[in-house]
């Protein structure tokens, strides 16, 4: 009997766990360790943040699903990995600390044959003084944050209804934050709600981003076909913002937030302030800050993890300038080079470098987005890691027949604004591959025939459809594995 431990129950970890159990059956054990008792469909948090959905509509309890499927669930935080075991144990194990009410504070050693690290991001609000829902800005990164943001947004709407002008500042709250897509979607949804209420005369909505040009989205931008032209996402994105009446500040690294005021540095080295009545600023992401120790108890964290706490995998981490970035730098199987039964999936793996060109202000501040790895690729990577682990357990072989490189994977991004069968509208964009490959596609870095850039009702329906479909899949209901990631 093999024992597979999955750290994290986000899109990537949850997907991995479900596939592992399905593939391994009753003879093997699958354990999920996650501090959150709920699964949440993160993309729909945007709707929570504008009051169109309740948190209950985007989350569900994990325990009943895992019980039904025969997966062991431990509501706990992973504190350290000991891949070589310790003096008393030959087997690798994870040190966890329970966070559920019954066992809060209890620690446990969970040994494993295979470990999948899918811990997702740590929302690094602390990297920007004053940032975050506990301080002076809002967030939509979790359903809690989103619900909290909606409470504050409601107040802003009430003020506008009373004739008080409000400034909304939405975007990235750190010079190297990523996940522009989510923040962008939130800005559009606020604009839609403002317009729906006829309050646009009282609203000034500002998009602030660390992107060099809009539409970079941490992917180095992309090209889509639109109206007979291959159009950079810059033009596509600016068009959408202009349509919704949103101003923008680009190349901006927010470095401090005070009540009602954000401070930022531009790529040209100048410093500015922007006042606001409501702000939603995405924090920087870090890894889960898990420690690692070898058999002797020596700290090998820097061997297993990169400096930002994300786990090193089969990527080429040699530092090289932008011009020398290659598609072969990117990992395919997400296996730790240090320990062959250790995998990292989703945001937990350390990318070899960004996709956006690194930019630095004259003051030495790096202002550019780090690479996003949300939604679709996270799910796919989780599945592929699971498939390889299943293969290894079942055959005893060490090869990895399943591969999922972000240099070959495509992804769709649906940015929806508004809600309802006839009122909603979304921009649907696809890119393939996710990471631009200028060697294979010298013209546009990606396969231009596999791009879509369409705005309309259909995209909104798809977003709604995906909401229900992926929650259905995540609940592991009948036929779940037939739904693609």
């Amino acid at each position: 009997m093999s024992k597979v431990v999955v750290l994290g129950a986000g899109i990537s970890g949850h997907t991995a766990a479900l596939y592992l159990k399905k593939g391994l059956g009753k003879n093997h054990e699958v354990i999920v360790v996650s501090p959150n008792s709920n699964y949440q469909w993160v993309p729909s948090n945007i709707w929570v943040g504008v009051g169109l959905m309740e948190p209950n509509q985007v989350k569900f309890k994990l325990e009943p699903v895992y019980r039904r499927k025969g997966i062991v669930f431990k509501q706990a935080l992973a504190k350290a990995i000991r891949p070589e075991g310790d003096s008393t144990s030959e087997k690798g194990f994870v040190e966890i600390e329970y966070v559920d009410e019954a066992r809060r504070g209890q620690t446990e050693k969970v040994d494993y044959d295979f470990l999948v690290n899918a811990t997702g991001p740590t929302l690094n609000f602390k990297a920007t003084p004053g940032l975050g829902p506990d301080l002076y800005s809002n967030s939509v990164c979790t359903y809690d944050h989103a619900w909290h943001a909606w409470q504050n947004l409601k107040v802003a709407f009430e003020k506008m209804e009373a004739g008080v002008h409000q400034t909304f500042l939405i975007g990235t709250g750190h010079a190297m934050a990523t996940c522009q897509g989510a923040a962008f979607e939130y800005a559009l949804n606020i604009a839609f709600e403002v317009n729906k209420r006829g309050l646009h005369k009282f609203a000034d909505i500002i998009w602030i981003s660390n992107e060099y040009e809009l539409g970079d989205f941490g992917m180095g931008g992309a090209y889509v076909k639109r109206g007979g032209y291959v159009t950079p996402t810059k033009v596509f994105t600016e068009s959408i913002l202009a349509e919704y009446g949103i101003r923008w500040i680009k190349r901006a690294g927010v470095y401090k937030v005070e009540p009602g005021k954000a401070y930022y540095e531009l790529l040209d080295g100048t410093y500015h302030e922007q006042t606001f009545d409501f702000s939603m600023l995405i924090p920087g992401f870090a890894g889960a800050q898990i420690k690692a120790f070898n058999k002797k108890g020596e700290d090998i964290t820097s061997t297993v993890f990169a400096a930002n706490g994300m786990m090193k995998v089969d990527a080429d981490y040699t530092p090289k300038p932008y011009e020398q970035w290659k598609s072969s730098d990117w990992p395919e199987i997400y296996q730790s080079p240090a320990y062959d039964n250790l995998y990292a999936s989703g945001i937990a793996f350390a990318p070899p470098h960004g996709m956006s060109k690194p930019m630095e202000s004259p003051n030495g501040t790096k202002i550019f987005p780090t690479p996003p790895r949300t939604g679709m690729p996270s799910g796919v990577i989780g599945k592929v890691v699971a498939q390889n682990v299943i293969h290894r357990i079942k055959t005893g072989r060490k090869d990895h027949p399943h591969k999922a490189s972000m240099v070959r994977m495509g992804a769709a991004c649906i940015v929806s604004a508004g809600y309802g069968f006839t009122k909603g509208q979304a921009a649907t964009m696809t890119v393939s591959p996710i990471v631009p490959d200028w060697e294979k596609y010298p013209k546009y870095g990606r396969d231009i025939d596999k791009t879509v850039g369409v705005i309309g009702l259909a995209g909104h329906w798809m977003k709604l459809f995906m909401h229900y479909m992926f929650l259905y899949k995540a609940k592991a209901k009948f036929g779940w594995s037939l739904i693609p990631e």
């Binding site: 005369k201 923008w248 495509g410 393939s432 591959p433 879509v452 705005i455 309309g456």
Partner: protein
């Protein structure tokens, strides 16, 4: 959604005055149920192909 235009009026040469904006015809097609139903299926199919084709 007229607010941007009201502001644009006073701000030619601002960065967002150089953004492209949809024509009325484009806005119509975005809301045309028939076309959007077709797109819904076409896009789903296309996305499926792109996403499923990318890993093995």
């Amino acid at each position: 959604m007229a607010s941007i235009h009201e502001r644009l009026k006073n701000e030619p040469y601002s960065e967002y005055s150089f953004a492209t904006r949809p024509t009325n015809a484009t806005l119509f097609w975005r809301r045309c149920i028939i076309k959007q139903i077709y797109l819904f299926f076409a896009l789903n199919l296309k996305i499926m192909r792109i996403v499923v084709g990318g890993h093995s």
